[in-house]
Point group: C3
């Protein structure tokens, strides 16, 4: 694996899932694989799970890990090309990225969508500059349009908890007080569909996602209809993708919350969410605290997903250096 | 040791002190004991000594250490139950804690008293949720009511510097420009009394501590009387514990400063403070800079105390996993 | 090497450069040299290259590294002696420094010039207190008046890219929107002159540097004249050193920018800058993005310089402890 930015990079999903099962059996089976390799984790946005799980995974493999929160302790970074840098930004990505590449063997980067320019977000301008200018393998820790480590962990979790070969999986939009990126929803759809599962996506009108991610899914505007017979309910807020609403929070219709009444419509479904989750906005306490909730197993699988990815990148580095 | 939150968890103090002496002889005698174990240090409040000494101690034992400053780079955390999370707090402790537990084998947590609700503070609501929801051993890095790693280090220091078997130990309130928790004072009293020493506590009226911690100590309202013949003078500010003043800075009476004139009343006493200390408010430069000051040896013993605690928790984990 | 704060500490430069070449051949040739030694990196100011490159270098040698950003997660530090600490600063350097010394075997510290008091800055009050009170070897990560790890990396880079034995090296002042310290310029001059190279320094009048650093260099006020025949052009802004302008940005004359027209005056010179650099203020995009720019190789050599310094300090520690 050269870079890890989407489901395309992981190879056949059956093999990836098999590797995940191996990691779960023994996290330290390759405790020296990453010896003398350094993973730099660069955060332009907040993180709890991603930072800790990726750091832990890399250390399980014997890598050194350095964490850089761009807003703390580093220089403010300019991202636009051609500008006269006479403002508050002391350094340009065009220097910062190759410099980071000097000190790291692998770079993980988190850079959320700005939600003001669809072109900039869906062009993945920050992530792609890391790929282009760092000279090193890049792992997406959630980019503007995808969160592949989360989606891989979600898929591992579904494999572990499914009770029928082809479960009904429903991705439902949920309310939220602020405008959020589409990355988690995009990425979840992409992985679930690539894995060969059927996916139902439900959301209010005008919250349609980019069909590059959702092609093949059933889009149902009636949430209750969508939830009928579901085995997995994945709730997530996202802002509008379609023009002229790109990046906007059109509304936060509270009737879209996932609560016990909604879960009663399902086939005793498991509840899923990537976290962090707004209690009693996205989902009720009762659903989140019920034994049907998988949010903690999903989070635990973040370490597993990250370890599979790191190991694969380490293997590529070693193959190349032979 | 399952958790470490108070003197109750350390077992017989003679044995704990013996272990401390062993660590001081060779910090690397068990440099592989913590191999493949990760300590996560979670800070809701500022730290210098605690973070560095605990990280160092754990690394002396071969553990991996991850540091999470809640206010930097992570999501703001909601701590109240049952709320509708539509404000600025993106994540709830009820998810954040078990998630942290996924990626760590041991969790250290610092969460100071809020000083607005005695019930919440003395109920140790944050610390206890870590114990309840993380599924992992928890080390207090100073909780609302206790600072046991500090007190253990203080006891080690007293053992090293005492010149009589039963020294007179005086804990004195001192002025401070802001309202501080009672944790250090509570904890110091608890450890010193548990160790079988006699303890004199002196403070202005209405600054009485909770007698759950001080029962057995002599309470003397006249500071100069209390200092007579002291071998150790431990200065520390705290806010009021007693109702209706809970958490309040009633005053910062400057006459309570420890200076050379006060130290002259003692039996050539050693000066102690947990640090950070306000120079010329809590204690004069001359006392702090004198050779009788033990503040740096106390700080150095923080690493020793943390290493004894980490080693004991590692041993418990390994015993359980056999 | 006891401390590393200037070119004086590195010993004969030929030997230092030979060690740098050795490190470049195999960064892991001494991967256990720093075992059981901890490097603490303390930052009073922002850092990207210095933090990452020094951490990486130390880890290449098997050291443990702890990073402390003073403004994040620690207590605000008082630096003035004799004050009554009743403001917002909770801890004094006089305690903080020896405490840090308790938990570290080597301390790296970054503390920029305040640019308000020449006496305080050129007295190196913060750096010197670390040397005096920590009891441990101290590495300057850029102090008020020098940035020796940068200068060492710069010298390594010049050695690698020079095509004549005695190249013409030009240090030129460049515009900048804010007032910057003189440290990089001072230090560059000191190292280049110590290495036996001839150095031309060009800047507007009243931007003269301290002649303790520049004695032996040619000072030329006409930038275009200075650039004639140059093999290396090192651009850098600095504020005024001379009284009564100390620390002031007298102006940011844009005609001093380095652009293609200026580079055409040179003997096909290499462009150098320590980074971070203000694009199109200090230097034009075209020069910075040209193949003649060495800014990334300079940055890469920061790891090499740091590793030579760390290894030398490790050797001293081990010699002393035998």
């Amino acid at each position: 694996m050269k870079h890890f930015t989407s489901v395309q990079d992981i190879g056949p999903l059956e093999q990836a899932l098999a590797k995940a099962r191996e990691v779960k059996k023994d996290k330290f089976a390759h405790a020296d694989a990453g010896k003398h390799l350094t993973l730099l984790l660069v955060f332009f946005n907040a993180s709890l799970r991603t930072r800790l799980s990726t750091q832990k995974a890399a250390e399980n493999l014997g890598m050194q890990v350095m964490v850089l929160n761009i807003k703390e302790g580093a220089w403010l970074l300019e991202t636009q090309h051609g500008v006269v840098m006479d403002g508050d930004k002391a350094e340009h990505l065009l220097e910062a990225i190759p410099v980071m590449g000097c000190y790291a063997d692998v770079i993980g980067v988190r850079s959320f969508a700005g939600l003001t320019s669809k072109e900039e977000d869906y062009g993945e301008t920050v992530l792609n500059q890391f790929i282009r200018y760092s000279g090193k393998p890049v792992i997406s820790l959630e980019s503007a349009t995808r969160h592949p480590l989360q989606s891989f962990a979600d898929l591992i979790t579904i494999e572990e908890y499914k009770t029928v070969a082809k479960p009904k999986i429903v991705l439902t939009w949920a309310p939220h007080p602020s405008a959020l990126p589409q990355a988690v929803a995009n990425s979840f759809a992409e992985w679930i569909l690539t894995a060969g599962y059927s996916l139902t996506i439900t959301h209010p009108k005008n919250y349609e996602l980019h069909n590059a991610f959702t092609a093949g899914a059933d889009i149902v505007y009636d949430q209750e209809e969508a939830l009928q017979g579901a085995h997995f309910v994945y709730a997530k807020n996202w802002s509008a993708y379609q023009d002229p609403f790109y990046g906007k929070r059109l509304h936060g219709d509270p009737s879209w919350i996932i609560n016990e009444r909604k879960m009663a419509l399902t086939d005793n479904a498991r509840f899923m969410h990537c976290l962090p989750v707004r209690r009693n906005v996205v989902v009720s306490d009762k659903v989140l605290d019920s034994p049907r909730s998988l949010v903690i197993p999903q989070a635990a699988n973040r370490e597993i997903a990250a370890q599979v990815v790191c190991k694969s990148i380490i293997d590529s580095i070693k193959t190349k250096s032979i």
